[in-house]
């Protein structure tokens, strides 16, 4: 298992490097002079030149690239052009909010989506199945800012059950959880829909496998056939999809954070884009890629737990 993980980590290195390179290129093709953006039109040429030297953007491109890669690999992501604080600090300040949201919606999605998917598969082509399929398709069709606003309208404005403002006190766990409810529902809705559909089709696939028939032929009670024999196999594709979806979730959290006025990675990205804070943007993308690599690793780890065939190959 350990060597398997090491191997996976090494295997993701080329992707990581490729992504870093893309980030570097993207940030360099931003139109406009970052120094000018920061200091404004009135800046003196001397001040501009000084800032360029400070940012390292007066060097030739290939040296900039080497600098960027080396510091990125050491975890140094530079400083924000606007606030002057290290990117990594800005990120770690809001990361817990984003992780809260991502993890809680993932849990919600699995807790509801997996049983619902199993149920639909067992009721294939009956009323329950059709209803679940249509409802999950609707859930999947909600852009998160629309579902977020609808939830906000109903539960925060109409019935005033949950708070409208989402900025929470990280140290106060009760407050933190309470303010997480509506955002989690918003993101979780899509997640539930997604997991339900994947679980359903994976279960349908697995239920027709020979080994499920073998289990029934052994006299294993129907409930155990489903949980012990079918579900564990069906979870393999579900894990893949959930892993992929965590990335999408980070994209969706941008919108959720705006609707519920929550701090988080998404809002930092939007702010950086609006302010053309190019150093910040670069650092954020690196962090983002890092998160993706970590997610992939976690996915692989889960695979190893579920599927004994993975460890060998």
């Amino acid at each position: 298992m350990f060597w398997y993980l090491v191997k996976r980590l090494l295997a993701s290195a080329p992707t990581l490097i490729a992504v870093l390179t893309v980030v570097f290129v993207i940030v360099r093709i931003i139109p406009g002079d970052p120094a000018l953006t920061v200091l404004g039109d009135q800046a003196t040429p001397a001040a501009l030149a000084a800032l360029r030297t400070k940012l390292g953007i007066d060097k030739p491109l290939h040296l900039q690239y080497v600098d960027f890669m080396l510091s990125a690999l050491q975890g140094d992501l530079g400083r924000s052009l606007v606030s002057g604080r290290p990117v990594i600090n800005e990120v770690t300040a809001v990361l817990p909010h984003t992780l809260d949201l991502t993890i809680s919606s993932l849990l919600l999605g699995s807790a509801i989506g997996i049983p619902l998917g199993i149920w639909a598969a067992l009721r294939r082509n009956r009323l329950a199945d059709y209803v679940i399929r249509i409802v999950s398709l609707i859930g999947l069709s909600f852009p998160v800012f629309v579902s977020g606003i609808f939830l906000l309208l109903v539960f925060a404005l109409q019935y005033r059950i949950f708070p409208v403002i989402g900025t929470s006190d990280l140290a106060n766990l009760g407050d933190r959880a309470w303010k997480l409810v509506l955002p989690t529902l918003t993101l979780g809705l899509v997640m539930v829909a997604y997991i339900t559909r994947v679980t359903r089709s994976a279960m349908l696939q697995v239920l027709s496998e020979d080994y499920v028939r073998t289990a029934r032929a052994k006299g294993v009670p129907a409930r155990l056939v489903i949980t012990r024999h079918a579900l564990r196999n069906a979870l393999i594709p579900v894990v893949t999809v959930v892993g992929l979806y965590l990335g999408i979730n980070i994209g969706n959290s941008v919108l959720t954070e705006i609707v519920f006025n929550r701090p988080g990675l998404g809002k930092v990205i939007v702010t950086a884009l609006n302010q053309r804070d190019y150093a910040m943007l670069q650092g954020l993308m690196v962090i983002y890629c890092f998160l993706i690599v970590v997610t992939n690793l976690l996915t692989d780890l889960t695979y190893g737990l579920i599927d004994p065939r993975v460890k060998q190959s």
Partner: protein, 352 residues
């Protein structure tokens, strides 16, 4: 006057004489494009204690689905048992609910499937999969079930079974997986074992080993065995009696000697012409021209007529019945049935 003692003795005797499996007038149907069609029709057969009945026939003639129906595993909702009885130990499987069936499956009746590569659960250890039946039916705790499972794995001759107990199916070869399947099936010492082409997927030497193993186990446990195959070479090795199936019907049933010595049905004769040689185990029964008709295109008269060298006008007119031509030897054929035999017998002057 019968004393209670003699009464008990006589019922014991009748239980012993009663076949373990008695299928009577069984029809299994599948729905094809909204219409129910019979895949197995009016099938009757029985298998006794310590007896092996081979079920032979081309691909698609309904062998597997017959065995599945004995397990109560006809796939729903597209399939159903339309009529007939399937008595196992005197209990009609067809009329049992799912909970009762679960108590019988893997316990009194067990099945070995055609596909050893896909019939084991890839995420569970083989030890667990064998022990599971024991836990379910014998109510053993994990340790006791494991110990017994290990004994069974050794009985089916898995090399270093103790060491491999916690291995997963992908770590085993096809032959070994089939042994694991056999271990699973016999773990609860079933009265009836349904073996659906257990050796087809294996190469010839392994095939012989597995056959030998099954035969030994049958004798050791006194099991009744329904052995499905389309390989007549295998039939000669393992069977006591043979039922030949064609297009969902039994067309001939007899002892293995009678079938090999005096095959009566033209289809059986065709099968013999197509006997696979020992060095070519995967050979199909291609010596008979044509194919089994699909279940939604069954002809009206004799189902074999279109491919039969002895075809007569009567064959297309009505379907023949399965009738005895000698004690324990029945055939379903207008031309070779008892009606003509009587005529032949009278003309030939058998008496004397």
């Amino acid at each position: 006057m019968t004393t209670p003692a003699t009464q008990r003795a006589s019922t014991d005797q009748s239980v012993l004489d009663r076949p373990v499996l008695a299928i009577d007038d069984l029809t299994i149907e599948f729905r094809v494009r909204g219409q129910w069609h019979a895949a197995v029709r009016d099938l009757s057969l029985s298998v006794g204690r310590n007896e092996t009945l081979a079920l032979v026939g081309e691909s698609g003639c309904g062998k597997s689905i017959t065995a599945l129906s004995v397990m109560g595993l006809v796939p729903k909702p597209q399939g159903r048992v339309a009529k007939g009885r399937i008595d196992v130990d005197g209990q009609d499987i067809v009329r049992l609910d799912e909970a009762r069936l679960e108590k019988i499956r893997g316990n009194r009746v067990a099945m070995i499937f055609q596909e050893p590569m896909t019939s084991l659960n890839p995420v569970l250890t083989i030890g667990f999969q064998v022990a599971e039946a024991l836990r379910v039916h014998r109510g053993l705790d994990a340790a006791a079930a494991d110990a017994e499972a290990l004994r069974v794995l050794e009985e089916v001759k898995i090399p270093s079974a103790a060491r491999r107990f916690h291995d997963h199916p992908h770590q085993f070869s096809g032959g070994m997986r089939q042994r694991v399947m056999i271990a699973m099936a016999i773990a609860c010492k079933p009265a009836l074992l349904l073996a659906d082409e257990p050796t087809t997927a294996l190469d010839v030497t392994i095939q012989a080993q597995v056959l030998g193993l099954l035969d030994d186990l049958k004798t050791a446990y006194g099991m009744a065995m329904l052995f499905i195959t389309h390989n007549l070479g295998v039939v000669a090795t393992i069977a006591d009696r043979v039922a030949v199936m064609y297009a969902g019907e039994v067309v001939e049933i007899a002892s293995v000697h009678a079938i090999f010595a005096r095959p009566a049905h033209p289809y059986t004769e065709g099968l013999f012409r197509a006997i696979p040689r020992i060095d070519r185990s995967e050979q199909t029964l291609s010596a008979i021209a044509g194919q089994v008709p699909s279940i939604d295109r069954m002809p009206g008269g004799c189902r074999f007529a279109a491919r039969c060298p002895l075809r007569e006008p009567a064959c297309d007119a009505s379907s023949p019945r399965l009738e005895e031509i000698a004690p324990g030897h029945a055939v379903r054929c207008h031309v070779r049935g008892p009606a003509r035999r009587v005529g032949m017998g009278a003309g030939g002057g058998v008496g004397g």
